[in-house]
Structure formats: C-alpha cells, structure tokens
Symmetry: C2
Subunit: 428 residues, 2 copies
C-alpha cells in the first residue's frame, strides 16, 4: 500500500471524499463516546465492591495496635496501611505517609509546603524570583496545571521510550531555579513508557545546583500491568533505593494511590520518601490536619492485604482493560497501519495510548472527533501550557467505554485523523 504522502492529489481527494462520507454517517448517529480521561469502567469498579463491606456497621473498627479508627488521630496513617503501601513499593513503613483519597492532592500539598515553609531548611519557593520545573512531554496535564497554579515556569523536554534524557536533565539542574522534575516512571501518562534502570540511576545521581531540587516521582501506575506474564510487564527500578545509593536519599518524593486499584473517588494515597523527608512532611501536616480517614485505610488493608493481594486484584482489572487496549491497537493498525500519517504507543500497562499524527493535525483531529460525538483529551493537553509545539500528540484513554463503544470510537478517531492528515497534505 502507498503512504498518504506519496499519493497524487486526485487520489488524496477521492480518499478524502470517501472518508468524509463515512464521517458524515458517524455524525448522523448522534453518538456520545468518551476516550478523554483515564477513568476505570463501571465493571472495574464492581471489582472493588467487597471493599465497601470490609468496614460496616457491625464490624470491628480497631487497628492492629488497638487504635479506634473512628476517632481522631494517627497523622501518618495506620501502621498496617503504611505497611501495605510499603509492600507495594518495596520500601519501609517509616518511609510512608498515608493520606486521603487523592495523590494529586498530596502532590499539590507538597509543592504548597515548599512554597510556604520551604524544603530541607531552604528558602520557601514563594520568596524566590523564579522557580522552574522540568516537564518531560508528552506528560500528565494535571501536573502541568499544578505548576501553572503556582506560577512555576515549566521547561518541556522530550520523553524518550526509556525516560527523559539524563544528560539534558543534568544540564538543566545546573540552574538553581530548577527545583523539580515531573516523572511518571512506569507506564507513563500518556505514552506508556517505563524509565530504564539506567535512566533511573542517572536521575538518582543528579547533582542539582538547588539543595531543594526533588524528583516528583508519580508512580501512579506501579501495579497497573495489562499482562500477567512477568515477561510482558514493566517494573521500574526502586527510586528510593537508587537515590539512597547515589548519596541523594532526600532528593525524591514518590507518590502513589489506590485510585485505579480500588475506587477513584474513595481510595487512599501516599507520600513516600526518606524517613527524614517523611518526618519533615509530618511536622507540617500537624498544622494542617489531625489525620486522614482511618476507616478507609482499614477497609483497604482488609480488602487488599499486601502486595500479593494487590497483584491478584490488578490481574482482574487487566482482564477488563487488556481487550480495550488491544481493540484500539488493532483498529489503529487496520485503519492507519499503512498510511504513514501517525504513530502510536503500544503500552503494557497504565491507562493511555499516545497517538502522534502529522505535525499540525492534532487540534483538527480532536475537533472533528468532538463533532462526531467522540470526546478526546484536548489537543496540547499533554504539553506544558497546553502548547504542543508540533500540534501532533493526542492522548487516547480506552478504559471507560464498553468494547463496542470503544471500537466505534476508535474507528471514528482514525477517520478524523486521516481526514486531518489529508487536509494537511492537500494544503501543502
């Protein structure tokens, strides 16, 4: 087959007309399909319904140490909840602070803490003329939104299949205004890439000019494999150990949650770091709250037990997610495989597929899809300031729709992408 760019103008026009007819038929259906956000499907949520019975009106409400989980207190989280997260991330419970339902909130609060009181005895960021973060892109729009909220200058760098370019990062952190880098190190949002061991070790061994530079390590998809076969799973290196080994034990803040393990609206989240950093956080948290919801922590411990329990539970999620990813990938291959108008990632975990079309076509593709009733993450959202310099990247979220809906949405997407590509090529 011929790639679109090698077609003659008349062939392109004929192809476009045919696609346009298909598109109009889709538009006439009045569909409402959503591939915009990484939301688990109702069937996935059903997997965690037993969680809600783990603490009920007649059950025991005491923690292992006798704490009445209904009452005030226990700032760092129940010991068994800290142990559960520690087991998931291969750290010690003393390195874990268990928080509320949202790890995004913990990340926000961590930057707020740097802003208000500073980190490790350094100047509060609010008192600095300039604070900068390195932002591997494509990346997670809500990380970028936090930076925008604080007025933190974002420096986009390319995210490679093995992670960011360590040499480039090393150069950037020579600037003392650079205080952090956003990392989703395993099954990255949206590419699905996992940082290589070499990249993790390189980042852990950085010698930043700023004493309060931190790796913001959002390990959101740490247990979110699509395949049970270990050979088909990614496992990012333990960054806490890597930083300690490199002599930078306090240089990383790791975040995780059970939002996509149990229930997005009612999970538990955690901050994980050196014991010194955990204690620094707890000292500040003491002014902020008396403690997070311990009954929900208890529910999670009773439901998930330990890392093995988490893995077994995640395998059930994978059963529901895997066919969705495969459906999208098959349709992309079928519809776009020989067109040369786009590439896409083939993740082994996480929640997203990253599509990269021809330069200057992402916005047009998303707009067309919207008109045909398919909601996609806004073009540009995967870049700082919503500004994709190539206008080419689109995040695909296959988790929420049913398989039938998803197949339809994927076909509509490829029609839109092909039309946008042809419009581009015809205008050249």
């Amino acid at each position: 087959m011929t790639e679109y760019k090698d077609l003659g103008t008349d062939e392109m026009r004929a192809l476009y007309d045919a696609l346009e007819k298909q598109y109009e038929q889709y538009c006439a259906l009045g569909l409402e399909l959503n591939m915009a956000r990484g939301k688990p499907s109702p069937a996935q949520l059903d997997l965690s319904m037993p969680l809600l019975g783990c603490v009920n009106s007649t059950s025991d409400y005491h923690a292992e140490d006798g704490t009445d989980c209904r009452n005030y207190g226990v700032l760092a989280g129940l010991p068994e909840a800290r142990a559960l997260i520690a087991d998931m991330l291969d750290v010690t419970p003393e390195q874990v602070v268990v928080c509320g339902a949202s790890s995004l909130n913990v990340m926000f609060d961590t930057i707020a803490r740097a802003w208000i009181t500073g980190l490790g005895g350094q100047t509060p960021w609010s008192q600095l003329d300039s604070v900068k973060f390195i932002c591997p892109a494509p990346g997670y729009d809500r990380h970028f939104a936090i930076c925008e909220h604080f007025g933190i200058e974002m420096i986009p760098i390319e995210l490679g299949e093995d992670g960011p370019d360590v040499a480039q990062v090393a150069e950037l952190v020579a600037d003392p205004a650079v205080k952090g880098i956003w990392c989703v190190p395993q099954y990255a949002n949206p590419c699905g890439y996992t940082y290589s061991d070499e990249v993790v070790r390189g980042l852990a061994a950085l010698k930043p000019a700023a004493g309060d530079f931190r790796l913001f390590w959002d390990n959101a998809y740490v247990v979110h494999h699509l395949y049970d076969d270990p050979a088909q799973q990614d496992h990012v290196l333990n960054v806490i150990d890597a930083c300690a080994e490199a002599g930078n034990p306090d240089m990383v803040f790791e975040f995780c949650s059970t939002s996509k393990v149990t229930l997005p609206g009612a999970g538990i989240s955690a901050f994980v770091s050196s014991v010194a950093n955990a204690n620094e956080m707890l000292a500040a948290m003491g002014a902020q709250t008396i403690g997070f919801d311990k009954l929900n922590q208890l529910r999670h411990v009773r439901f998930l037990h330990d890392a093995d329990g988490v893995a077994a539970h995640m395998s059930k999620h994978a059963e529901l997610l895997r066919p969705r990813f495969e459906t999208v990938l098959e349709i992309f291959e079928e519809d776009l495989g020989d067109t040369g108008i786009g590439t896409w990632t083939k993740p082994r975990g996480g929640y997203f597929i990253s599509f990269t079309g021809l330069d200057g076509t992402a916005k047009a593709t998303v707009a067309k899809a919207k008109e045909a009733g398919v909601a996609l993450t806004g073009a540009g959202a995967t870049w700082p300031y919503g500004d994709d310099p190539h206008d080419s990247n689109i995040r695909i979220a296959p988790s929420y729709p049913s398989l039938d809906e998803l197949a339809q949405a994927a076909h509509i997407f490829t029609v839109c992408a092909r039309m946008a590509a042809l419009e581009k090529l015809l205008a050249e």
Copy 2:
C-alpha cells in the same frame, strides 16, 4: 466559708498539708485519665455505627443525579451533600463546598490559597511584609498553630461572654496588614460562649482596610447543644446573611464538619461562603484534586438526611455529654465554690469548660495533674504562641472519659488547682 485569700498563713498551711495527702494518695493509684482533647467517647461513636452500613458492598452507589460515587469527579461535592450542609447552616447549596474529613484541613488550605494565589484578586499573602490575624483568647490552639505555621502575626484580644469587643476589632482592622479574625461563634472553644446577635452584626459590618480581610468563622459546634430544650440552647446568628445584609457578602469564610456529629476520623467537612467565594475556591481546588470522597458524602446523606436528622442525632450525643459536663461542674462547685481561687464557664453546648485560676497558677496546676495521672491541655495552649499572659487559663475536656473516671479526674484537678493557689498565696 472563707475564701482562701482571706485565710491566715497557718490555716493555709494546714489546708495545703491536707490537700497534699489527698494528692499523694491519688498519685499512688497510678491513674491514666485524660481531659486534654475534645474527643467523643466510644459510646458517642457507637451512635454512628449505622452510618458505616449506609454504603456497603451491595448497596446502591449512585447519587440522586445518577453520579457513580465510586468514580472520579464532582469537585464541589454531591448535590445532596451540599444540600445537607446548607440545611444545617441555613444557606443555599451553591454556597457550600463539601470537602474531606477535616475542617481544620479546609481552614489550612484556605489560608494556603490566600498565601499562594491571593483572595479576590488581591496580592498573595506570601508577598506581603506582614500578615496579621486577630485572635480572640482563650481560643482554639489549632487555629493558632496554623498562624504560627505561616508566620502570621497573632494579635490576642479578650473573648467576652458575648464574643469579641467589636469596637476593638474595628480599630484593629484599620491596619491593612490585618487579614483575618478567628471566630468560634457558638459554644466557643474553650469557653463555650456564643456571640450575641449584636456582635455578629458588628463583625459583619466591619470596614476593614484590607479588601481581602475575612472572618474565619469556625462554626464547629453549630449543632452541638447539651440540652434539647430550645430555651437552653444557643443559636448564633447566620453570619452569611449578616455579611450580605451589611454589604460585605464576601467577607466571611464559614467552616464546619461532622467530626463531632458522626465520626471524627471519617466525617465530611465544608467551606461555606458567598457564591463568588465558593467559585473562587473551586477554581483553585481544580488544581489540587479531582474531588473528595463521594461515597462518604453519600453515607452521611443517607444517615443524617437533613437538619432535622442531624438534630435528632445530636440529641443522642447530648444524652451522653450532658452528665459529663454536669459532673465536672458539680465537683467544681463542691470543691471550689467557696474558695475564690478560680472561676469556670458553664456552657450549654460544645466540648469544653474553661477554667480560670489565680494568676500564675495554670502551669503549676497542669503539671501537678499530670504527675497524678490526669492529662490536661497544656497551660497556655488557649492563647496565641502558647503564651497566656496571666498563666491562669486551663481548658477542660469532659467528653472522653467515663463518668467514673471523669469524677475522679475532676476531683484530682480541684486538688491540684487548690494546691497551686495556696502555693501562690503562701509565697505572696
């Protein structure tokens, strides 16, 4: 009977020796009693156990509008949860943002928001040379701890039985650095005082120099009456209405929670203000989280229903709390009534009794009680910076111990207070 101060030295010495013997007997018992924190007792928590069954593994998890409460979203809280809080506080649901388990956290976050992005388009507080808060005292130690965390200068003023002196507050807010006042307007912590309508109207009509001055209205005990008889209840005026009527609709942030209605570790909290202020908060919250725990909001709506349901439930709390308050007050009257060495408040709601001894005796009393196994809130804690200028105020929290324990603790307290007073008088 003769007041202690009118006794002769020998009489004082004899009295002191007798008290000391009693004290030594108490010390020998190796007791562990706690009147330090406003924690509900286990029997109170039992009242809310049905709450935990309101959302279980087989129950419906949809909100009235069809929202799947298990999934992401609904930043401002479920409509029915907003309606529940609105009913409790006599405002509209649009004025309510429902948050997580801790209203303290909401207060902290609100000041953090002022610090980071500013309020109402004004300069972020982090960029100002000086930020000051007015702190009626005795007051709530955790309010003061938030100010200390941010480096906000606290200006203590006297809290009268009707609330703070509005004329004094009006003078202070002529300073543009004064950005807030902490108010616990009903059954104040620790005095149990309720602001009069005149004081509320006076505060609502302030003309502060700072455009971003706010009343931080911590209505923590709004439904926490000790008596069912309306004649024995305090009801503070609706401050949201009062501010609107005075032409200051955006000048108040009201906070409340169900921590002492349902479960302190697992309640819901709320921010209540003008619609403009609620929307300003939501805009900032959008960078912070995707939403708070909606299943817990659903539990609360199903358990409490509305303001009448809350009142019926609070009446059960009152049954448990009332005898505790009455026990302490009776023992204080019996042991201290004719000594002239202290006064104490007689609240009709809330969680505390405020004791004021002779100047320079609070620390000594608390230290003695501690040695005898009775934990009290640290002397000074009810004042900004922990600095009670008279060293006379002690907060008594009668809610947690059993009635027997409480009676013993109250007797030990009066022995300690009498000894400290006699030491003081003998040294004069």
